[in-house]
C-alpha cells in the first residue's frame, strides 16, 4: 500500500497536466504545473514530449521565466527518447545564447555522438559528466536501448565486441545481459570464426530487407471501386 500512494499521485499529476493541455495548450499559467511535471517524469521514468514542448514554448515566449535546470532535464529526457528526433526538436526552441552554456554544450556533444553512431565516444563523454546524466534515472538503460535499436537496424549478426562497445557493458555483466536477452527477446549466441562470439539479432524488415512488405503490390479497394460501374 505504502508504495502505491505516490504512484497514484504521479498519475494524478500527469492526468491533471494532460487535461490542462487539452483545455488550452497556449496558457501561460501552466508554467509551474509543467515544470513540476518535468520533475515528475524524471522521478517516475515516464515521458511526455508534448507537455515538454509546451513548456519550452512558454520559455520561448517569456524568456525571463526560463529555468535552465528544467531545460537541462528536458534535454536529457529527450536524449533518452532516441531514435526519435526529440532532442533536435527541443533545441529548435531554445535560444542560442542559452545553448552556449556549458551544460547544454555537453548535452549537444552527447547528442552528436549518438546521432553519428559513435557510442564509445559517447560513453567516455557521459562518464566525464556524471552530474548531468545521473540526475535522471534510467539514462543508461535508455541509451543502451537506442544502441540496440540501431544495431538491430544494421546487423543480422553482430560481433560481441561491437555490441559491448555500443552498450558499454563488458565481461560478466555482458554475459548476464546477453542471457537476459536470449531468454526474453529472442537473441541467439553463436561462436564466431576465430576470436569472439556473434550475437544473432532478431529479424526485422530492416536487417532482413526481404521481409519488407511490398505494399506496392496491393491495390486499395477505393481504386478498384472506381471501375465497379464499368465491370457491372
Amino acid at each position: 500500500m505504502g508504495r502505491e500512494v505516490p504512484q497514484q499521485q504521479q498519475q494524478q499529476v500527469a492526468l491533471a497536466v494532460e487535461q490542462l493541455l487539452a483545455v488550452n495548450p497556449y496558457n501561460p499559467d501552466m508554467l509551474s504545473d509543467l515544470e513540476n511535471y518535468v520533475n515528475e517524469q524524471v522521478s517516475s521514468q515516464t515521458y511526455n514530449l508534448d507537455a515538454n514542448l509546451c513548456l519550452l514554448r512558454i520559455y520561448q515566449f517569456e524568456p525571463d521565466r526560463m529555468s535552465t535546470q528544467i531545460v537541462a532535464r528536458i534535454l536529457v529526457k529527450a536524449l533518452m527518447a532516441m531514435p526519435s528526433p526529440d532532442f533536435g526538436l527541443c533545441l529548435f526552441l531554445i535560444p542560442e545564447r542559452v545553448q552556449m552554456e556549458e551544460q547544454f554544450k555537453t548535452l549537444t556533444v552527447l547528442s552528436h555522438y549518438l546521432e553519428t553512431g559513435r557510442f564509445s565516444q559517447f560513453w567516455d563523454e557521459a562518464s566525464k559528466n556524471r552530474h548531468i546524466v545521473e540526475a535522471v534515472p534510467g539514462f543508461e538503460q535508455a541509451i543502451q536501448a537506442y544502441a540496440i535499436h540501431v544495431l538491430s537496424l544494421t546487423y543480422q549478426r553482430v560481433p560481441r565486441s561491437v555490441l559491448a562497445e555500443a552498450i558499454n557493458i563488458e565481461g560478466l555483466s555482458l554475459d548476464k545481459f546477453l542471457e537476459h536477452h536470449v531468454a526474453n527477446n529472442g537473441w541467439i549466441l553463436e561462436k564466431g570464426h576465430g576470436r569472439g562470439q556473434l550475437i544473432v539479432l532478431p529479424r526485422n524488415e530492416f536487417n532482413h530487407p526481404e521481409l519488407k512488405k511490398s505494399t506496392d503490390d496491393g491495390i486499395p479497394l477505393e481504386h478498384v471501386a472506381r471501375i465497379f460501374p464499368i465491370l457491372g
Binding site: 497556449y26 509546451c54 526519435s84 528526433p85
Partner: protein, 531 residues
C-alpha cells in the same frame, strides 16, 4: 554564413501576403499626401452598397466577384498608393452595420499592408480590428456566407501581420521614443498568446475537428460542399476554424516548433483533396509548411512526396492563375519549394519519387548545384546554407524586446538558430554520400575492404554505417520506424550485403487506368453514329 543575404531576400512570400504586395520602388509613397480619408468616390460608394447587399442576400458568387475582381480593380485605379476611404466615411452607406464595417476595415488594412508601409499605430489598430472581428465570429452572431477565398485570406493575413509585427518589433535600433512608448503601452497587441489563442478558439468553437470526423462516417457534409452551408446556415465560423488549423501550422513553423505544427494539421487529411485545396493560396501554404516541417524532422520521403505533388499541380495549373492577385506569390513559393526539394533529394536521393516533369524542372534550376551538394565540402555547405536561407519560412522571435539601453536588433536570431541547427544536421550526414557511392556498386563487400577504399579504419566505418541506418530511418508520429533509405543493406558479422531496391512496377494501377481508358474509348465509339 553564405553570400545570400536573408534580410534582403527579394520579396519572399512571407513578406508579402495573400493580396498582392507591390514592392514600392524608390521612395515609399506618403500616406497622407493629398489623401482625404473622408472622401468617398462614387465607385467606392457603389462598391460598398453592392457588396453589403450581396452579403445580406448570401449571394456567394457575387460576393466573390466583387471581392476578387472589383476590389482589385478599384485599388489599382484609385488607391494605388493611398489607403481606401476610412470606415467612418462609408459606414452610413451600409446602415452602420457593425460586422460589415469590421470586414471593410479588415480589407482596408490588408490593402494598406500590401501597398504602403503601416505605421505602428496602424499595426495596433489592425490587431484591434481582428480582435473585434474574431470575437463577433466566435460568439456566433455572424449569419453570413462568405467565399472560401476571403476566409482564407483573413487567416493568412492575420498570421502574416503577426509575423510582420514580430519582425518590425525586433528591429529596435532605429525605433523612435514615441514608438517605444507605444510598444510599451500596447504590449498586448499581436501578443503571441493572443494570436495562438484566437486561432485555437476558432478551431475549437467551430467544432471543425468533430465535423471532419463525422464526415468520415458519412454523418455530415463539409468537404463535399467545399465548406459552404446550403441549408441557410453560415459557413464563416466553420471555414475560419478549418483554415485556422493551417494558420496554426504556419505559426508553429515560424516559431521552430515543427512537431506541434504538424499536430495541429493532423485533422486535415492531406493525401486527399479537401477544402484546403479549393483556394490555391491555402493549398500552397499548407503543403509548403507541411513539407518544410517534415524536412526538419528528417522525414525526407514524406517531404519529397508532397513537394513533388504540389509542384506538379502548380506546373499544370499555373496558367489559370495568371490574372490572379496571387500569381506572384504562387511563382515565388513554387521556386522556394524547388529549392526545398533540391535539399531533400540531396539528403535522401530518391529521385524515383519525383515525377518526370518536376524532375526536369528541378534539374534545370538546381541540377548543377545538386551535384556540388553531394560533395559535402565547404562549398557544398555554402549551397545548403544558400538554399535553406532562400526557401525557409521567415522565422520570428515571439518575445517582446528588452527596452533597456542599448537597444539591439534581434530580428535575425530565430533564423540564425534554425539555419545553424539545420546545417549541423547536414554535417552529421556528410559521410553518407561516400557510403552510398560504394554500396551502389557492390552486392556484398567486407568491412575491411570497404574501409580501405574509404580510407577509414574499420571501427570508424561501422559508425558511419550505423549513422546511415539511423539517419535514413525516421520515427513517424505514432512512433513507428519508417525507412527513407535509398540503398538497403545489412551487415552479417563483417560482411556487408547490399539489397538492390528494384522500383516496384505498379501493374495493378496501370491496368486499372487502362481499363478506364478503354471504357472511355468504347463509350466514345458508341456515341458515333454511322449513317
Amino acid at each position: 554564413m553564405a553570400a545570400y543575404d536573408y534580410e534582403d531576400a527579394p520579396g519572399t512570400y512571407d513578406e508579402t501576403s495573400a493580396t498582392q504586395r507591390q514592392a514600392s520602388s524608390g521612395a515609399p509613397p506618403s500616406q497622407d499626401l493629398g489623401y482625404d480619408p473622408n472622401f468617398v468616390p462614387d465607385s467606392v460608394k457603389s462598391f460598398v452598397v453592392h457588396l453589403y447587399r450581396h452579403i445580406r442576400e448570401k449571394n456567394v458568387y457575387e460576393i466573390h466577384q466583387m471581392y476578387e475582381t472589383s476590389f482589385q480593380t478599384l485599388s489599382d485605379r484609385l488607391f494605388k498608393d493611398t489607403p481606401w476611404p476610412s470606415v467612418d466615411a462609408v459606414a452610413h452607406y451600409v446602415d452602420n452595420d457593425h460586422v460589415f464595417c469590421l470586414l471593410y476595415r479588415e480589407m482596408w488594412f490588408r490593402h494598406l499592408y500590401a501597398r504602403l508601409s503601416p505605421t505602428l499605430k496602424q499595426r495596433i489598430d489592425s490587431w484591434d480590428n481582428y480582435c473585434s472581428l474574431f470575437q463577433v465570429v466566435l460568439h456566433g452572431v455572424v449569419n453570413m456566407q462568405l467565399p472560401n477565398q476571403w476566409l482564407w485570406d483573413m487567416v493568412d493575413e492575420f498570421v502574416y501581420q503577426f509575423q510582420s509585427f514580430c519582425q518590425y518589433r525586433a528591429k529596435m535600433k532605429n525605433k523612435t521614443e514615441q514608438e517605444i512608448a507605444l510598444l510599451r503601452q500596447f504590449d498586448q497587441a499581436w501578443n503571441v498568446y493572443g494570436v495562438l489563442n484566437f486561432l485555437q478558439a476558432l478551431v475549437e468553437k467551430s467544432m471543425i475537428i468533430q465535423i471532419l470526423e463525422h464526415e468520415k462516417e458519412g454523418l455530415e457534409q463539409f468537404t463535399a460542399t467545399d465548406g459552404y452551408d446550403y441549408n441557410g446556415g453560415s459557413n464563416v465560423l466553420k471555414v475560419l476554424g478549418y483554415f485556422s488549423m493551417v494558420g496554426l501550422l504556419r505559426v508553429h513553423c515560424l516559431l521552430g516548433d515543427y512537431h506541434t505544427g504538424l499536430k495541429c494539421l493532423q485533422p486535415i487529411d492531406i493525401t486527399q483533396q479537401g477544402v484546403y485545396t479549393t483556394v490555391i493560396g491555402s493549398h500552397i501554404t499548407t503543403i509548403y509548411h507541411y513539407g518544410f516541417a517534415n524536412l526538419m524532422l528528417r522525414r525526407y520521403v514524406e517531404a519529397i512526396r508532397e513537394f513533388n505533388k504540389i509542384l506538379l499541380y502548380i506546373y499544370k495549373t499555373k496558367q489559370y492563375h495568371q490574372k490572379s492577385p496571387q500569381y506572384e506569390q504562387i511563382l515565388k513559393k513554387n521556386e522556394q519549394m524547388y529549392a526545398l526539394l533540391a535539399i531533400s533529394l540531396s539528403l535522401c536521393p530518391q529521385v524515383k519519387l519525383v515525377e518526370e516533369t518536376v524532375n526536369s524542372q528541378l534539374r534545370e534550376k538546381y541540377g548543377e548545384k545538386m551535384i556540388r551538394m553531394q560533395r559535402y565540402d565547404d562549398e557544398a555547405f555554402a549551397i545548403y546554407d544558400e538554399l535553406f536561407s532562400y526557401a525557409c519560412p521567415k522565422f520570428i522571435t515571439p518575445s517582446p524586446p528588452s527596452f533597456e539601453e542599448p537597444l539591439v536588433n534581434y530580428n535575425q536570431d530565430a533564423y540564425r538558430l534554425q539555419l545553424k541547427l539545420f546545417l549541423y544536421e547536414v554535417k552529421q550526414q556528410q559521410l553518407l554520400s561516400g557510403i552510398r557511392t560504394f554500396l551502389k556498386v557492390y552486392s556484398s563487400i567486407s568491412l575491411a575492404k570497404l574501409a580501405s577504399y574509404m580510407e577509414v579504419d574499420e571501427s570508424k566505418l561501422r559508425t558511419i554505417l550505423l549513422t546511415y541506418k539511423h539517419k535514413t530511418h525516421a520515427v513517424d508520429t505514432d512512433g513507428k520506424i519508417i525507412s527513407n533509405a535509398d540503398v538497403d543493406f545489412y551487415i552479417d558479422d563483417d560482411l556487408i550485403y547490399v539489397v538492390e531496391s528494384k522500383p516496384a512496377k505498379r501493374y495493378g494501377d496501370y491496368f486499372l487506368r487502362q481499363i478506364v481508358k478503354l471504357e472511355g474509348v468504347i463509350n466514345d465509339m458508341d456515341r458515333v453514329k454511322l449513317d
